[in-house]
């Protein structure tokens, strides 16, 4: 159910933006748009179905703690 809603939401974004991009023949924009959208979709999908994704904040935290340890 949630996955379905997710797909619908991202499909709506795509349906809203893509015709405009194609009409303007901005192919580079289309590629970037698609990549970002797929990234967003994958991340959301992983969270919806419960796949563990590494958390970048934990990474930053680790770097900061390591850096603090140096001093």
């Amino acid at each position: 159910m949630n996955t379905l809603l997710l797909i619908l939401a991202f499909a709506a974004i795509a349906a809203y933006e893509i015709p405009e991009i194609i009409r303007r023949r901005q192919w580079k924009e289309l590629v970037v748009f698609a990549v970002l959208l797929i990234v967003g979709f994958t991340m959301s999908l992983f969270q919806t179905i419960g796949v563990k994704v590494p958390n970048p904040v934990k990474g930053i935290e680790l770097i900061i703690k390591k850096a603090a340890g140096l001093f």
Partner: protein, 375 residues
Amino acid sequence: METEGGRISGSQLLALLVLTRLVPVTIEFPLVTGIEVPQDAWISSLVGTVLSIPPVLLMVHLSLKYPDKTIIEYSQLLLGKFFGKIIGFVLVWYWLSIAATMLRSVGDAYTTAVMPETPILAFILTVGFLSANAARTGLEVVGRLGEVNMLVVLLFGFLTLTLPYKVMNFENLLPVIAKGIRPIMLPTGTAISFFVQFIILGMVVPYLNNPQTLTKSSLGAIAISGFMMTAFTVALIAVFGPTVSSLMLPAFSLGRMISIGEFLERIEIIPMGAWTITVAITLAFFLWASAVAIAQLLGLRRFQALIYPLAAISVAFSILFFESFLDLELYFKEVWVPYSLTLTLGITIILYVASLIRGRSSASEKVIGSCHRNG
């Protein structure tokens, strides 16, 4: 080839910067919650305001050297394509992470205080969607929204911090700095770490009606938001005394202390509403900046198409980054300050040093560069 066609005025920039800074002020958990000597928090906020003037002035000065370029463009000019782009992407990451944090704050604040039964995504999606819509229409609309709403937010903020006057006890502010300077340092760092978000003005300079108003706008924004932040801290300490460091949503709790006669009470939704407006507009501002930055980094002609995907990514980040409200709180306490300070100050200093070196080696190149861009 201009990605953003809109223009905003100096006062609109001021409003946007004030709102950006007010996001943590209005609910303000990082400044007073969990700190060691709560009665000195107002000193931290005041000192933090003053100490953030030099780095912000440095950012302003840097941007004014290239008034027709965004920070994304001039960092490539200064450091070369490769390193310039790295800085650009780091900034985009920084802005998106701020956007995610703000979204999560809204969600956690609403689910904690107002509607615990509602899933957090309902609030995150609502605010995210509204902000994305605003950002998609461009800087001009965001600026105008900011200008109008800043007055509303300031008025509501002012009401929230003055109306609980009955329960205020200013003796709570004493003794001043009884336990030495050390416990004040962390909250001061927190205060500065939010001011350095002003690095976003590097995205706005070319779209200012009159770039020369930049200095005035930035200093004005520091003054207004610094005053608000300090006044809020003073009011909080006066009302809650030492218990203030236990409050999860201090400003919200402050609103709950308003009780005038029998009729004017339970109006804590006022600070909540003001804060939501603030977050929504600031979020739109950051989404816009990220989209324009990516467009410029990759040489796209339109940033609008990127807004919705970026908003979706921030929503996903907001869920991924933090597992609980405590996580968010600890992030502000332990990660955010060094992260934000090193990132923004590092980028500003690197770019500034590079601009000094370049400025010495060839003064003419800059002119050529800017002609090229306009052509």
